[in-house]
């Protein structure tokens, strides 16, 4: 120490605390910088999420409402006697567009020219007749009477009422012509136009007409796919985890399997689609575009996730439980099924739900197995042609009609709602059943 002082005369004596004190400011600054950067990262992340949600919601919320036009419809159907009891077949085959068109003509008696009449008729959706048919079939006593009925408006009218179509630009550049604007204004003044809750969106399959397009088909497709995926992947996944964790000998083979399972969890999902195409469709001949084949592919995809989650939750069960069970004379199988598995199940379920949520949002592997398809009928089983929600969103986003823009966003909202619910279920399950030792 003395030597040091002597060699640098005038220098202050250096103590550890001085070094610390000198660097303290810098270290505090570094810490607050790091905190700031972290905070900015969180705020940025949240801001993007909020932006994304705001964009989707602002574009999509209008789709939950649909424009209807109230028309006084005289339900005199050609070939059907209002006095007698009409048989169902005749009722189903009757022309329901004719009374709607007649009602439109009656509401706008000044329209007589053929081209104008076509324009007038195009204000009503092509599906309006089918909806009227359903109403009449439900209540045949309507026949012969004149009823004020809300009929479905065409998507162009819907867009106009919702304000998506700009009235100020030149007529030639607008999809809704000036005549229609006048008619819509008149109907609005008479209280004959109303936006009502869009039940069609939740009860119908897809359609090429935006006003008739619904997500029921895709929702049922997703439901069947997920149900079967869960039914297949959960038992297999739990079984594999149980065997690997509790029964399998620890040797090079089981190590290899473990490494492979971990690798499979990171394989891009499209690869599973290709595998599904080659094996399930090509080799086993399972029909394309069905929930069955989709579920098999999704099972392959979610299995690694479930196996890994299940093994982790098996590991977290304390060995004392096993030892106690074995000690009182339970067989290894009884030990596992009566004591270990029930304690590990909440963690396994959480893993399964997160795997299912991933499967719900997945579309890439389904490209390969024919799910990018236009399917109107709502699927009623595992072997009916079906699409799933993400694919439906993709298909709508690709449709030229303006009305599909809001429906795309609305479908995204529904998908997000389901994903949110599933993740919430996973969190709640974990909260409720998780045990800490």
């Amino acid at each position: 120490m003395n030597n040091l002082d002597a060699s640098t005369p005038g220098a202050p004596p250096r103590h550890a605390i001085d070094i610390v004190n000198a660097s303290l400011k810098r270290r505090y600054a570094r810490e607050s910088r790091f905190r700031l950067v972290g905070l900015i990262a969180v705020i940025l992340g949240l801001a993007f999420v909020v932006l994304l949600f705001a964009d989707i919601v602002s574009k999509g919320y209008t789709a939950f409402q649909q424009t209807y036009i109230r028309l006084p419809i005289a339900l005199t159907l050609e070939g059907i006697d209002p006095a007698g009891t009409p048989d169902a077949q005749a009722l189903a085959n009757a022309d329901y567009m004719a009374p709607i068109k007649a009602a439109l003509r009656q509401t706008f008696p000044e329209v007589t020219e053929r081209r104008e009449l076509r324009l007038l008729n195009s204000m009503v959706s092509v599906g309006a007749a089918d909806l009227l048919r359903e109403q009449v079939m439900d209540n045949p006593s309507l026949i012969g009477t004149t009823q004020e009925i809300w009929v479905l408006a065409d998507d162009d009218i819907d867009m106009l009422v919702k304000g998506t179509i700009d009235r100020d630009i030149a007529q030639g550049d607008r999809r809704v012509k000036d005549d229609m604007l006048g008619w819509v204004d008149r109907l609005e003044k008479q209280g004959r136009i109303e936006k009502r809750f869009n039940t069609i969106f939740f009860t119908h399959g897809t359609s090429r007409e935006p006003e008739l397009a619904g997500i029921a088909g895709a929702l049922m497709g997703s439901f069947y796919t997920l149900l079967l995926t869960l039914a297949l992947s959960f038992p297999i996944g739990v079984g594999a985890a149980l065997y690997l964790e509790e029964f399998a000998p620890k040797n090079r083979w089981t190590d290899l399997i473990e490494v492979n399972i971990n690798n499979l969890a990171a394989v891009p999902s499209i690869v599973f689609g290709l595998l599904g195409l080659a094996v399930f469709i090509g080799f086993f001949g399972i029909p394309r575009s069905t929930p069955l084949v989709a579920a098999l592919v999704m099972t392959l995809m979610t299995l690694p996730t479930i196996i890994i989650a299940s093994r982790v939750s098996l590991k977290s069960v304390p060995p004392s439980i096993r030892e106690a069970a074995l000690g009182v004379g339970a067989s290894p199988l009884q030990t596992q099924f009566h004591h270990v598995l029930p304690l590990a199940l909440p963690g396994m379920l959480t893993g399964a739900i997160i795997g299912m949520a991933r499967a719900l949002g997945e579309s890439a592997p389904l490209l390969m197995i024919g799910m990018i398809a236009f399917i109107v009928d709502v699927p009623g089983g595992f072997t009916d042609p079906a699409t799933v929600l993400p694919v439906q969103i993709y298909l709508w986003a690709d449709s030229p009609e303006r009305g599909f823009v809001e429906r795309t966003s609305a479908a995204i909202m529904v998908l997000l709602a389901f994903l949110f619910l599933m993740n919430l279920a996973a969190v709640l399950l974990r909260r409720k059943f998780e045990r800490r030792w």
């Binding site: 039914a231 398809a373 236009f374 399917i375 109107v376 449709s399 009609e401």
Partner: protein, 346 residues
């Protein structure tokens, strides 16, 4: 919990498999994404009005559709494939080999490809040569040597055009629209340059590479397969041009305008009579062997080729289809409804 799950799974699987009959009662359609909007519209109307199940329409791309279609005969294979070009001879041979001997070809109409910009900007009047010079990867310089495309603004391409940066949003190479654009616009444009035209005789490979190469220096922006996205981007950037199908132009005339090409604006009439240069024919193909086995194929063809569907006033015109001229439409409808098999394409 576990046991019930397994039990229900087994039960459900068994139940659904047993109901799955060997025969199929829905028509399966595959093929081009360009024809998809029309095919689906017909499928929906067919399902709604004719009392058959609504056909399943898959969007696989023309090539993918041909592959599936020509893979064989039987319920596992599609009945109809849509195409945005004619069937190739090699594809026809594959079909023959697989047992699908008789195939009916139905030309549906035309699809135009629009080059459009925002309504807020002035309408452009381009020639095919301008398009080639603006978008080609390599262009000949003054001495006839090929150099990487030096043109930065439209004025560099043609002094009549505005002094704006070349910025074109278009589909990626995987898209059928891109193929058609290259074939119709780029090749048409490059053949109007004598040096390149001469190349076709001397070095065909080189000719193809020059005509088909689209620049990758940022002037051509691959905007993804989604044409709606391109329209939205054009609306917000008035300097940009976009390349997409005519049906999207038709649906968005309040936001975007089609550029004139060789003096012709893309409209229903100009594409129908063939004066608009960037348009192509679209088709669907029917496997005759399936008629009678799968219910409704004949009726589906009849619905597609009825005037209320594909006529100039029909519902497909509302979806952006450009009809065939009256005489051709009538003759195609007749041979289609009679399911006359096609001969081998060249």
């Amino acid at each position: 919990m576990n046991k019930t799950l397994i039990a229900t799974a087994v039960l459900l699987a068994a139940g659904s498999l047993s109901t799955q009959a060997m025969a199929r009662d829905t028509i399966n359609i595959v093929g081009s994404s360009t024809v998809f909007p029309f095919s689906t519209a017909v499928a929906e109307t067919f399902g709604r009005t004719m009392g058959f199940k609504t056909p399943k329409v898959e969007s696989t791309g023309t090539g993918g559709g041909m592959k599936l279609f020509c893979a064989g005969v039987g319920v596992d294979h599609p009945d109809i494939t849509n195409a945005s070009r004619r069937m190739k001879a090699s594809e026809f041979e594959n079909c023959q080999k697989a047992g699908a001997k008789e195939i009916t070809e139905v030309k549906i109409g035309f699809d135009g490809i629009a080059i459009a910009n925002s309504k807020k900007a002035p309408q452009l009047d381009l020639t095919l040569k301008d398009i080639f010079l603006a978008l080609a990867k390599d262009v000949p310089d003054a001495s006839g040597k090929f150099v990487p495309n030096p043109n930065k603004t439209w004025k560099d391409v043609n002094s009549d055009l505005p002094d704006a940066k070349i910025e074109v949003l278009g589909p990626p190479p995987t898209s059928g629209t891109r193929d058609a654009f290259v074939e119709l616009a780029m090749e048409g444009g490059c053949n109007s340059i004598p040096e390149i035209k001469a190349l076709k005789k001397s070095d065909e490979k080189m000719h193809k590479a020059v005509c088909g190469g689209i620049r990758e220096d940022g002037a051509y922006i691959e905007a993804g397969e989604n044409d709606n996205l391109i329209v939205q981007k054009l609306a917000s950037n008035k300097n940009a041009l976009g390349i997409f199908g005519y049906s999207f132009l038709d649906q968005n005339t309040d936001k975007v305008q089609g550029s004139k090409i060789d003096g012709v604006e893309p409209t229903y009439e100009t594409i129908s009579d063939g004066s608009y240069p960037v348009s192509r024919s679209i088709y669907f193909y029917v496997k005759n062997a399936h008629v009678g086995t799968i219910p409704g194929i004949k009726q589906f063809v009849a619905e597609f080729t009825s005037d209320k569907a594909w006529g100039p006033e029909g519902y497909l015109a509302d979806k952006g289809l450009i009809s065939l001229p009256d005489a051709e439409r009538a003759s195609v409808a007749k041979s289609a409804q009679a399911l006359e098999p096609m001969s081998k394409p060249e």
